[in-house]
Amino acid sequence: MKKFLCKASLLICMSATCFALESPLGLPYSKDIKSLVKRGDLRVAIYADSSLSPFVIINGKQLEGYNVDMARAIAAELGVKLHIDRATSYNDAVALVAKGKDDIAISNVTATPQRALSVFFTEPYYSMPQGLIIQKNFDASKLNANTRVVSEESLRIGVEAESAYVYYVSLAFPHATVVAYANLNQGLKDLNNNQCDAIFVDDFSGEQVIAGESALTLFRLGDVHIDPVTMVVSSEKPQLLNWLNLYLNSLEGKVTQATLKQKVQLP
């Protein structure tokens, strides 16, 4: 009897599993997707910092914002729950995926050749304009917004540590000294104490900072300095990468992105 029960429950388990492992079109799931669906959650690394609004908005212990909404929409399309791991930096978000703790990172990550040695990147999901926070009395004639090399001078450029912008500054300011800061507030202190001449930021962080600092201004860089941010995908999950690219490019994915952008007033 016991044996019979075992067999019966095994059979029920198997049929339940088989049932759950079919796609909405009734086709078998491929390996990567199947393992996600079996596990029941999509694990997403998100770097949370107060300078990241509206991409990430910290609301007590809750994370909100565009990146979180996109993660939720993607998990829903996959038919699984969303599990968020908070990363402590951009590099940490990449590392969480590279080490297999998370499936993907949706965290304004720039695709760089160094990172691509460890992880896959989707096509860009947002084009992030870049700029420099400077003192209003800084001589901006030293800067050129529309060439790849912004300045040949030996400036001191503040940039967030553990971010792709460290690499970016080395390209855009070949003779500059990089002054790495742990967070943007520290960077602002460096700027106010004349420890650096300018801070290299994305436009969103820049706008937020200068709103509260009357002595500072944002020097916007031109179209050659747009940072296409992408989603990071585990290199063990090529099928998930292929799926994400198709989803982001589908009409459904585009409409979702437009709706979620509107929700947080992201242009």
Binding site: L27, P28, P238, N242, W243, Y247, E252
Partner: protein
Amino acid sequence: MKKFISTVCLFMGISVTGLAQQTSLGLPHAKDIQQIVQRGELRVAICADSSVPPFIIMNGNQLSGYDADLSQVIATHLGVKLHIDQASSYDEAVSFVASDKDDIADSNLTASYERAFSVFFTNPYYIMPLVLVAKNNFDTSNFQMAQEVISTSSSLNISALANSSNLSYIKVAFPQAIATPYTDLSDAVQSVKNNEYDAILLDKFTAQQAIFGEGSLSIFKLGPAHMDPLAIAVSVNRPQLLMWLNAYLASAEGQAEQTALKRKVRLE
């Protein structure tokens, strides 16, 4: 003597195989491609349910068209024969690849993310515009066809093939409209003429066929957001073949070989 001959044969066999396993540059093949080369054929699923010219042309049981021609060119580049498995529906063609019965499906397939739960898709080899077929006096002046989401009156009735990606597409692109499935295109065309449906959502080629000889019907173009990317489905166990196909499609774009293939079936 017999033993000697079989040794020689074995030796020749090995060297022939050894030769065949190298690329024209004298390099070893990547694993996925080596398996196909060793097997001697590329297995391709094509939906042979009906003619969808110029991609799939059925003449009795004889299958031709752009997809079959493209598959032949790909097999030739890989140095193997072409084996076609005829599927009875698009989803069955995808399922042949999902179950590894076939290596690829080259079958007028829309690269949809729902299908990508089960297979890889290459980059698109053709971008197919979607259009509406409606009566000549169909009034589109209040629609913003350039938008991703096109607002319409709530009584607008748009039809699309039952169980197709176009039917679910209506719900996203025309959220206010009523999406009605049809099973037979000529019945659907009749329904438009009888004012039962306001329009049918079709790809450009099917639309041209649908209005052929129908003086009261016209094609209404949608904006650039409304395109179906046609792509080759690839087994998820063949990532190297996927990479190779993407490299081939990128390098062949606009080259003489592709131009000739397209000209042959009058694909623009």
